[in-house]
């Protein structure tokens, strides 16, 4: 009985506390930069697509909402021929962002993406690709990776040692 009376008193005290509710459309909540919202594809500092179509994001996606197809450029680098995210399935878990080896796929602090037609929730590459570097301004995958391209030979990447000639006995 005493606990019930105490409960009534504790609840009554809430008459004078402020409501926790954020009046959303009028009052926008603060979303931190690492908020997991709408997914974008970023570009490297040179303005090229970061995505190398490795398919890791599609493989890790728990709801299989990512579909893409690899293609090769003339200089030997890879890029997605198409890149499609079905946001009506996406659960904004951010695992694609964690899996991405090139920081290409990133989640942004934006969640206002309602559509009347479900088909409009399917975003193609042109909708996903942004003209920016996202959260990692200096990163360029082909500058740091050991992969040989038309402009960069083996061992020319940042912090990369020259390849060792395994047939030579010299140190």
């Amino acid at each position: 009985m005493l606990s019930e009376l105490r409960t009534i008193w504790e609840v009554l005290k809430h008459t004078f506390t402020k409501a926790e509710t954020v009046q959303y459309p009028e009052e926008m909540p603060y979303l931190s930069p690492r908020y997991r919202g709408r997914i974008v594809l970023t570009r490297d500092p040179d303005g090229e697509e970061r995505c190398v179509a490795c398919n890791l994001c599609a493989a890790v996606c728990p709801v299989d909402c990512i579909a893409l197809q690899k293609d090769t450029r003339e200089d030997g680098t890879w890029y997605p021929e198409f890149f499609r995210i079905n946001f009506s399935r996406c659960i904004m878990c951010g695992m694609c962002e964690e899996a991405c080896p090139t920081y290409a796929i990133q989640l942004t602090p934006d969640f206002e993406m309602c559509e009347y037609d479900r088909q409009n929730m399917v975003y193609e590459k042109e909708h996903l690709l942004i003209n920016g570097v996202g959260k990692y301004p200096d990163y360029n995958f082909y500058r740091v990776s050991g992969m040989q391209t038309a402009t960069k030979d083996k061992g020319e990447a940042q912090n990369e040692a020259r390849p060792i000639d395994t047939k030579s006995l010299l140190p």
């Binding site: 019930e4 409960t7 009534i8 504790e10 609840v11 009554l12 809430h14 008459t15 506390t17 402020k18 409501a19 926790e20 509710t21 009046q23």
Partner: protein, 324 residues
């Protein structure tokens, strides 16, 4: 004019009761919001009062569906019973001096009878739905009402003893100097608890118990028939609040010293408002007891308290009579 007065008052109560119940749904939600640190419905109209209208339109335009497996006549009749019974209960409530529909000398018994009739609504609704949840809800309500009815009446006998009358006007007049809420504190506590159980509102809403019985007796109801149940429930809440004010808080009498500053009708309405707020507070604060806890509370705690109150009141009255 004096012939017309009760008719006009009856119409006022009829319209006011329905409108009051509708506004009460919104008011309760806003008040619950205040106590749960949120806003409640605040979008439509000033302070969100347009929500009442929106709810009404929605309920009116819903499909008026009668389940094919139900007992159709009883199914349709059940929701009206509670509204009619509760509305009838308002006939004896003295709002202000001379402002009541009828002043019968058994007003208190009439009120108790009408609230008991409201049980039929829940019971028949649960039975006619031909649905397990609804039947369980009806069953619970029957047991709850029967056991809480017993000491609901008994708890008021102290008031009757002290005022020496079953007429509600006489009871209010007897409280001109001191309200019965001081001398009849045990009766007040028991009556409040029994009143909540009688109008099956939240801590004691076991007939509905949405967590266990989906919606209890009104599982199969929708649209306006469901709205009638809700209307009856809110009318019951208002009626119980009116009766608590009439029987224990001096009816239309204002508090001492400042009582004469404002009209009697204001004091009555103000006190009813406070009691309704208290009922909403109970809903916000107290979790629903288990069915067996409810029963043991009724028979093992409430009934003895009532009987003790009865004995003490009788003894004190006899002693005072002997002393005088």
């Amino acid at each position: 004019m004096s012939e017309l007065m009760p008719v006009l008052l009856a119409l006022t109560i009829l319209i006011g009761g329905v409108a009051g119940a509708a506004i009460l749904t919104w008011f309760e939600r806003r008040l619950l919001g205040v106590w749960q640190d949120r806003h409640g419905p605040n979008r439509l109209g000033p302070l969100g009062i347009g929500q009442v209208l929106a709810d009404m339109i929605k309920l009116l335009f819903k499909d008026d569906w009668v389940p094919p497996f139900s007992d159709k006549v009883v199914f349709i009749f059940a929701p009206t019973a509670i509204v009619v019974a509760m509305m009838m209960g308002f006939a004896v409530v003295p709002f202000a001096p001379g402002m009541m529909i009828i002043d019968v000398n058994i007003g208190l018994l009439f009120f108790l009878g009408m609230t008991s009739l409201a049980v039929y609504s829940v019971l028949l609704g649960g039975l006619a739905s031909n649905n397990k949840y609804a039947l369980l809800g009806g069953l619970r309500s029957a047991a709850q009402m029967v056991s809480y009815e017993v000491f609901m009446g008994l708890s008021l006998m102290g008031v009757v003893m002290m005022s020496g009358s079953f007429s509600l006007v006489d009871i209010v007049e007897a409280q001109t100097d001191v309200w019965f809420c001081f001398s009849q504190i045990l009766g007040l506590i028991v009556f409040v608890i029994a009143g909540i159980a009688e109008s099956h509102r939240l801590p004691f809403d076991l007939p509905e118990a949405e967590h266990e019985l989906t919606a209890g007796f009104h599982t199969e109801y929708g649209g306006m028939k469901f709205a009638m149940f809700m209307l009856g429930e809110y009318l019951g809440l208002m009626l119980i609040s009116c009766m608590i004010v009439t029987l224990f808080f001096g009816g239309w009498h204002g508090p001492a010293l400042i009582g004469h500053w404002l009209p009697p009708l204001f004091w009555f309405g103000f006190k009813v408002f406070i009691i309704i707020c208290f009922f909403v507070l109970l809903r916000a604060a107290i979790p629903r007891p288990r069915y067996d806890q409810l029963m043991s509370l009724g028979w093992k705690v409430m009934l003895p308290i009532t009987l003790i109150n009865l004995v003490i009141t009788g003894a004190v009255l006899l002693w005072m009579e002997g002393a005088a």
